[in-house]
């Protein structure tokens, strides 16, 4: 029999937070929620409280000198999680301002002790802790703070109460005694760059469990706080193995291209379609989704167009209207990649999709908050990994500036991240701008190495022949192959 203490983890029900915490909050832990003013500390504390408090495990929310309680009630009730009926039943707000104003830690502690003894709460919140400290400093008692925190920590643990101290702008480097005493340190930040503001949460410490390291983006809306846990951790708990698929290859719906790919795109692969503007990337993407629907699969398309009014591909529009393809057209400013992954995975789960299109990476980069752009490549890797874990087959488009001096597939160095690449280019032949495409790679699979002409018509893409008599196609200005050593300009019509 296991005689070790079992640490029960409380599910905060703040979306994404439990994943970031590594499975919830340890019961009876002593936690600090810190951050600058306005970063969402009180909101987080209230949301956790309303989620966890029950008549059997009531909560006490001590307000000190920070936000006046009336104001807090006024604003907090705007959130969906706020439940007026819980007030004075499972949730009790108690003002300590009268005691705190004296600057006497002992008196504040005594008051907390008395209330805790009277109501026997399972959850205790002290907001804001900074005010306790400041009040104490005014009282001229430097040792008081540490004693206060230590005593409070000890007291609350003995009373079997999970405790949260909500505190303002501690500096991280500050050797604050509170940090040592606390079991958990939850740090909220705001990263401001140009006109964009991104809220981030970091679990600096959580005793007894492995948390997701680093900064995690969160949003505050009417429902409260939503944390976007790292894409990989979301996907790992979200295997969509039950997605119905046919065959081990996903056809893209352009027969000749499917043949070139070696029979379609292997399931679970990600395909990068790179090409210049107007080369038909989005049309190919629509074909990929339409082919899926034709064989009974659903799909998700995430578009990041700058102009939402721009008329979409009619094929795609119909698929979306019929609900066979889910559209993610996020107009949210300051996106983070984890949020997009979450949106996509939610839709994948909802309609049991097996195909996902991202159109395009260029638009996606622009939709991201500036603060994430330097990490775009890493983020993209996270996205591709998460989607691969979810078991979907992905097609991404990437705008490629046509440079005829080098053969490039993606401005982001994203080429190595993807399992397959199709490149599209313009060439000039006989005073016409023609399009060619080729399959550059299909990981661990045989594929064609042909450079084929293709055209875009009413029925989408039709792939034509190679141009065996031409060379230098990738340079954009091909020439007829040399016969007898002298180059012949294209279009001369010299029979071979």
């Amino acid at each position: 029999m296991n005689t070790k203490a079992t640490i029960k983890r409380l599910a905060t029900r703040v979306p994404g937070l439990d994943e970031v915490l590594g499975g919830g909050l340890p019961e009876f832990s002593f936690n600090l929620i810190a951050g600058q003013p306005g970063c969402g500390k009180t909101t987080l504390a209230n949301q956790i409280m309303f989620a966890l408090a029950t008549p059997e495990r009531p909560a006490i929310y001590f307000t000190v000198l920070g936000e006046p309680p009336l104001k807090m009630l006024r604003y907090q009730q705007q959130f969906d999680y706020f439940d007026s009926d819980a007030l004075n039943r499972s949730v009790r707000f108690i003002s300590l301002s009268d005691d705190a104003m004296t600057g006497d830690f002992d008196r504040v502690l005594k008051r907390i002790t008395d209330e805790v003894a009277a109501h026997n709460p399972g959850l205790v919140f002290v907001d804001s802790f900074r005010s306790v400290v400041m009040a104490g400093e005014n009282g001229g008692n430097p040792l008081g703070l540490q004693l206060f925190v230590q005593q409070l920590g000890m007291l609350m643990t003995s009373w079997q109460a999970t405790t949260f101290l909500v505190g303002e702008y501690f500096s991280e480097t500050d050797a604050n005694p509170v940090f040592t005493v606390a079991d958990g340190l939850i740090w909220l930040r705001q990263s401001v760059q140009r006109n964009s503001m991104v809220r981030q949460i970091e679990i600096l410490k959580m005793r007894g469990q492995a948390t997701q390291p680093g900064l995690h983006t969160f949003r505050i809306d009417k429902a409260g706080i939503r944390v976007f846990a790292p894409a990989a951790s979301v996907a790992s708990v979200d295997r969509t193995a039950d997605v119905p698929v046919e065959g081990d290859r996903a056809r893209v719906g352009v027969p000749a291209l499917d043949t070139m790919l070696g029979g379609g795109l292997p399931r679970g692969y990600s395909l990068l379609v790179a090409g210049p503007s107007g080369s038909g990337k989005s049309i190919l993407a629509a074909s990929f989704l339409a082919e899926g629907v034709r064989v009974g699969e659903t799909g998700v398309v995430a578009v990041f167009e700058q102009n939402p009014k721009r008329s979409r591909n009619p094929v795609l529009r119909d698929l979306i209207a019929r609900g066979q393809v889910a559209l993610i057209d996020s107009r949210q400013p300051d996106l983070c990649i984890d949020e997009i992954v979450l949106l996509i995975l939610n839709e994948v789960r909802r309609i049991k999709a097996s195909r996902v299109v991202l159109d395009s990476l260029s638009g996606f980069e622009l939709a991201l908050a500036p603060t994430f752009r330097p990490d775009f490549r890493e983020s993209l890797l996270g996205l591709v990994t998460a989607l691969a874990r979810a078991g979907v087959t992905v097609l991404m488009t990437s705008e490629l500036e046509d440079r005829y001096t080098d053969l490039r597939f993606s401005p982001y160095g994203a080429a190595f991240l993807t399992d397959a690449i199709v490149v599209q280019r313009y060439i000039e032949v006989d005073s016409r701008l023609l399009r060619v495409m080729a399959v550059v790679k299909v990981r661990a699979s045989a594929h064609s190495n042909e450079l084929r002409l293709y055209s875009i018509g009413e029925d989408g893409i039709s792939v034509g022949d190679m141009l065996p008599e031409q060379e230098g196609l990738l340079g954009g200005r091909p020439t007829r192959k040399r016969i007898g050593g002298s180059p012949v300009p294209p279009g001369d019509g010299v029979p071979q």
Binding site: L70, L73, S84, L87, R92, F93, S95, D98
Partner: protein
């Protein structure tokens, strides 16, 4: 007229249900003082004694527009609710005016709190005080 007034105040003020017909100004003053203590007991743990005192003073100032004599009830204490001045101001009015002023004061307090934290939370917070009064007048109040 009297009955109508009494019924109206049951729904919006806790005073009507607690006073017998023909109560003197002194009795009105005592009842008003007692109700304020109940309200204070219900709210000061949540919003602090100073927060409560601020709301009390604001209610007095709002109601004094219609009942100028209520201004005498305002002592300007910031740290806690003190009803002594209010009670003596009430006791020096006629019974009807004391009753009307007292009721109006509770109504404006209720309205003030509602404007700050919303109706449902206000009802939740003042439930015990208002319920107490409604219960006493259940014979009249057939709606609830």
């Amino acid at each position: 007229m009297n009955a109508q007034h009494g019924k109206e105040s049951v729904t919006s003020s806790p005073l009507g249900g607690r006073l017998v017909e023909g109560a003197s100004a002194g009795q009105v003053a005592d009842t008003v003082g007692a109700i304020w203590l109940e309200i204070d007991d219900a709210l000061h743990p949540i919003i602090g004694r100073r927060g409560m005192a601020a709301l009390y003073n604001r209610s007095l100032s709002l109601t004094a527009a219609a009942h100028p004599w209520l201004a005498a009830g305002y002592e300007g204490t910031l740290s806690a609710v003190d009803t002594a001045a209010l009670k003596s101001a009430l006791a020096s009015q006629t019974a009807a005016e004391a009753r009307a002023g007292g009721s109006a004061l509770f109504q404006s307090f209720h309205g003030l709190l509602t404007s700050l934290v919303g109706a449902s939370l206000t009802d939740r917070l003042l439930h015990s005080v208002w319920k107490h009064s409604a219960g006493a007048s259940s014979a009249q109040d057939t709606n609830s």
